[in-house]
């Protein structure tokens, strides 16, 4: 049996890892309580999975009028692994870790 190698057999990894939905690893789901969130972006800054992104100011409620002009944050549950760093670092405890089973219907 012969193996036909391409002309340049150097493997180049070209497919973005975003194909790999690591959200399935999660035991705890971080849930943002927007009525507390002061839009400081500390959670965004420390997320090891770059799973927190910005959303327009009006996308969520704000605890104070003065904060309502700033962008807000959202968690991408396709990728968040549930490490809890965001919840641990949030200065106003706006992020709650909830067991993932609470979000699934009974399979029976």
């Amino acid at each position: 049996m012969s193996i036909n190698l391409p002309k340049d057999p150097t493997p180049i990894a070209k497919v973005p890892s975003t194909e790999n939905k690591t959200g399935g690893w999660r035991t705890f789901r971080p849930v943002i309580h927007y009525e507390k969130c002061i839009r400081c972006y500390i959670c965004w800054k420390f997320c090891p999975d770059a799973a927190i992104h910005f959303a327009p100011p009006e996308a969520h409620e704000s605890p104070k009028e003065a904060l309502a002009k700033f962008d807000t944050v959202e968690i991408n549950y396709d990728f968040c692994k549930g490490c809890g760093i965001c919840a641990n670092e949030c200065p106003v405890n706006a992020i709650e870790l909830v067991l993932e089973e609470n979000f699934r219907g009974d399979e029976e």
């Binding site: 990894a13 497919v15 973005p16 890892s17 975003t18 939905k21 999975d49 760093i85 919840a87 870790l97």
Partner: protein, 300 residues
């Protein structure tokens, strides 16, 4: 509108395969935010060799050349010289290796690259053991730590040799820039990287990157542990520019090192006497660092 303290651009994609709460991943995220898209990385065997995912996956928006464990220093030297020959002098060339691949296996290639004076960055992300292969001790594992090759027990010991000071080894190479950093202080890390970017020649960074898997702490504590490392003086943040030391953060009232140790399962076995011994060691190292800062500034 938003007020950010670090660059917004993201060059590290999600979907990677790092453990949850991985400190080394946060380190890479900041390094690329600081250096930008015009960067080429080389990574040897280490956690970061598997984090991007299996072929054909990638999780970085910049080119990455995988290399063998011991040759990161040689690989980045080659990339640099090739780019210079092509006239592409504005590209950042970065070696990104773990502590095993830096303090132990890759030390000679790093030393040679530094001595030859190539215009490169070498970043040691220090998670204080061979984590990717199952938490074996490295030269950078701290005193008193449990690892799978220093498991403790009646006959076999925990790791009691002091942590090798790789940053100091690099200072002894008389390169223009050496710094320590850690993930709890991204603004500090990024400003150092940007400062280093303006300097031609070898630039070395040692970035303390807590590892929940190997340090046996809860994954949500990664940033907290990193912060405590600085607040207890067990991992001081400083930079050495052309031989001149400058301490970046001097904690007003340093916390007892016990607070740092007690968050981590790898130090669970430590007795009060052993903790006191580690504290003494930390205090001595801190005093020595203050002295180096004073002496090197006085020479002016």
């Amino acid at each position: 509108m938003k007020k950010l303290t670090i660059p917004e651009e993201e060059y590290m994609l999600p979907g990677h395969t790092a453990c949850l709460g991985c400190g080394a991943t946060i380190a890479m995220r900041y390094v690329l935010k600081a250096l930008g898209k015009n960067t080429i990385l080389s990574i040897p065997a280490c956690c970061w060799a598997v984090i991007p995912g299996v072929y054909p996956h990638r999780n970085l928006e910049v080119p990455l050349l995988y290399t063998a464990f011991e040759v990161t220093g040689a690989a980045i030297s080659g990339i640099r010289e090739a780019l210079d020959a092509l006239g592409k002098e504005d590209v950042n060339v970065v070696g990104f290796a773990g502590d095993g691949g830096t303090a132990d296996i890759g030390l000679q290639a790093l030393s040679a690259a530094a001595e030859r004076g190539h215009n490169v960055f070498y970043i040691m992300y220090d998670n204080e053991a061979y984590m990717n292969t199952g938490i074996q001790r490295s030269g950078s594992t701290p005193m008193g730590a449990w690892t799978t090759t220093t498991p403790g027990g009646k006959k076999r010991m925990y790791k009691w040799e002091p942590k090798k000071s790789v940053a100091e080894i690099m200072v002894a190479h008389h390169i223009p820039y050496v710094a320590t950093a850690t993930i709890a202080y991204p603004e500090d890390m990024i400003s150092k990287l940007k400062r280093a970017k303006e300097i031609k020649g070898p630039k070395f960074f040692q970035i303390l990157s807590p590892c929940p898997t190997g340090w046996r702490h809860s994954p949500d504590k990664t940033v907290e542990v990193s912060r405590l490392a600085v607040q207890t003086n067990i991992f001081p943040l400083y930079e050495v520019i052309n031989g001149k030391y400058k301490i970046s953060i001097k904690p007003k009232n340093p916390k007892p090192v016990k607070e740092y140790l007690r968050l981590q399962g790898r130090f669970r076995h430590l007795t009060e006497e052993e903790i006191a011994m580690i504290q003494k060691n930390v205090d001595e190292n801190w005093k020595a660092l203050l002295k180096k800062e004073r002496c090197s500034q006085e020479e002016e």
